[in-house]
């Protein structure tokens, strides 16, 4: 078989058609350009968001299993339903110290555990009062959960042993209580309905650890104190008054973080942890197990779904561009009927004509694709300026839309090209 044209010749012929009809080509290219650009933008934004949330999950610690005590939905006996007057009772729920021991000893691969006890209190300093979340923790909490410090130091084992009256506060709280001074060494008065205690600020958190954020409440005004100091001073019971009734909650351990040897150990231990809690809490749902590694896996699947949806939406503009190309190519076939007749008379086969028109439409989309990629490279900058978060463009997020555009060019050029090839040479030559 003789396939006469070398690739270069065919491309030159297709390019010729593009160059000869400049305005038409530019407009067609624009359609594809925006299509490609929007696909790139969608992919880059989604990838950026995914990276961001994965980073947050990694901050929880990819080798950690985090168990939080949660207040169960009130069911059955001992609830406050039907209480008429001022009545008080203590609701006990959540993790116990026995739980923590079981969790530390049972699943294989546990390196250490870190516990936290949470309460709401008031913090007074400089004549200002703020409602804060107080976290009583052990010295290893910083290592396990990752606590970035802006100033000062974290709680030490000596602080715990001696039940020292020291604390760390968040940046937000520091700004509220000590707006114009260095908070280190200053005194904060913590109080609830049962007790009050003065503690000295020994450190300022740069950022609240991810593991604590769900307990932090809005505004991120938090205080971290030694667990021993917390329990010795305030005990396990938190009392709060609501509309004439006083409720009290008793939680031994608000959070327990298990640090595992590696991610594989995490995945193996997660079901054991859930099973143990289920068994010893007799079905009461008062704790919640979070496994960042599992969530990351889930998110990867989720990302694929979102990517698919984003690309579908952006593809609509590519589709519109493709329809534009088909339109232009159909017009081009009509306009160049005589040229087709001449070429056929001079020996062009049908496939030569098909190739010529296909190359032309693919060339148009490829140009649009390349320009789309060039503008696509601006996406991170635009998004950072306009929306304030980072995007991620990889070779794949740039190439996928390009390939899509070329495929669109092929598909939308196909019908016009076939029509051109099917023209009767005699008729085509007679065409004015």
């Amino acid at each position: 078989m003789i396939f006469p044209q070398r690739i270069a010749d065919v491309v030159r012929l297709g390019l010729h058609g593009v160059v000869v009809h400049k305005v038409r080509s530019v407009l067609t290219v624009l359609g594809i350009l925006f299509g490609v650009w929007s696909v790139i933008a969608m992919l880059a934004i989604n990838a950026g968001l995914t990276v961001e949330s994965q980073r947050q999950l990694r901050n929880l610690g990819s080798t950690n299993i985090i168990i939080d005590s949660v207040k169960p939905a009130l069911t059955g006996g001992g609830t406050s339903s039907g209480n008429s007057g001022a009545k008080s009772f203590v609701l006990t729920y959540g993790l116990t110290r026995a739980d923590v021991e079981r969790l530390r000893d049972n699943p294989p691969g546990v390196i250490e555990s870190a516990v936290m006890h949470w309460t709401r209190k008031n913090a007074d300093a400089n004549g200002k009062r703020q409602s804060v979340s107080v976290f009583g923790v052990e010295a290893n909490y910083a290592d396990v959960a990752g606590v970035p410090l802006a100033a000062g130091r974290f709680i030490s084992s000596a602080d715990l042993i001696r039940r020292r009256a020291c604390c760390l506060i968040t940046r937000e709280l520091a700004a509220d209580l000590f707006p114009c001074e260095d908070p280190l060494g200053k005194t904060v008065y913590l109080s609830d309905r049962t007790a009050a205690h003065a503690v000295t600020v020994i450190g300022v958190l740069d950022q609240l650890p991810q593991a604590l954020s769900r307990h932090a409440g809005s505004g991120q005004r938090c205080v971290i104190i030694p667990l021993t100091t917390d329990l010795a001073t305030f005990g396990e019971i938190m009392v709060h008054a609501t509309q004439g009734s006083i409720d009290a909650e008793r939680v031994q351990v608000s959070q327990c973080i298990l640090r595992m040897a590696d991610e594989a150990a995490v995945l193996a231990a997660a079901p054991i942890v859930r099973d143990l809690l289920e068994r010893y809490h007799e079905g009461v749902r008062d704790c919640e197990v979070r496994v960042p590694v599992e969530e990351i896996e889930l998110m990867k699947a989720d990302r694929r779904r979102w990517n698919f949806m984003f690309v579908m939406i952006a593809s609509v503009s590519l589709l519109v561009g493709g329809i534009g190309i088909m339109n232009i190519m159909l017009a081009s076939v009509t306009e160049r009927t005589r040229e087709i007749g001449i070429r056929r008379a001079l020996g062009a086969k049908r496939r030569h004509i098909v190739t010529q028109f296909l190359v032309e439409s693919v060339t148009l989309t490829a140009i649009g694709g390349v320009l789309g990629i060039v503008i696509g490279l601006l996406v991170p900058w635009i998004v950072r300026r306009a929306l304030g978060f980072e995007t991620l463009t990889t070779a794949a997020t740039l190439l996928v839309p390009f390939v899509m555009a070329v495929v669109v060019g092929l598909l939308s050029g196909l019908y016009p090209a076939m029509r051109a090839a099917r023209l009767d040479p005699v008729e085509a030559l007679r065409h004015e």
């Binding site: 010749d9 040229e339 001449i342 056929r344 020996g347 062009a348 086969k349 005699v426």
Partner: protein, 234 residues
Amino acid sequence: MPPLVQLHDVWRVYPVGDEGVCALAGVAMDIHEGEHVAIMGHSGSGKSTLLNLLGCLDRPTAGRYCLGGSDVSGMGDAQLSDIRNRRIGFVFQSFNLIPWLTLLENIEVPMFYRGLPRRQRRRRSLELADMLGLGDRAAHRPTELSGGQKQRVAIARALANDPLILLADEPTGNLDTATSGEILAVFDELNRRGHTLIVVTHESEVAAHARRVVRLRDGRIESDQVTTSRGGPA
């Protein structure tokens, strides 16, 4: 030596209405290598149809057409394209040059479809342009050329692949008298060099250059005469 062109009882019926229109009704004719034939007839006599058949742009409804020893009446589209490419050179009344190609590129189109490499195409097209006195206009586009020059380009293009026959359809129809004379002189020269020419025309001055005149009427050959002396200015 077998004839170059053999038509055996060729019919061409267009499917119009119930009965169809019979454009050619049993045409039989032989043309030998080196002949210069004029095909004449009024409009509607079937000469365009005959030209399309001879040029392999169309296929006969019935009958047989042999070109250079092979029967082309049953060939498919791709094969006919090859035949047109290698064995037939077309010269049209309205030149039919591709407007956005230069003179040389126009001459190269048939060689392009034959698959010749670029350099070879360029060499041959320059040679042909020179031969037809267009050497100094190689980079011009058709719109920048006069009618006579355009027709010379078309002739050069027709000769590109060394065809067996040159088919000209009213080659002087769009030219003034002086230019017509030039073009006809080119044809005479080509015939003298051994090219087989078939010219479809209704002008007797053009036909006078041929050595054989075939007249068509209502799709049949009315007369087929050999003229011994070449008329008109050479």
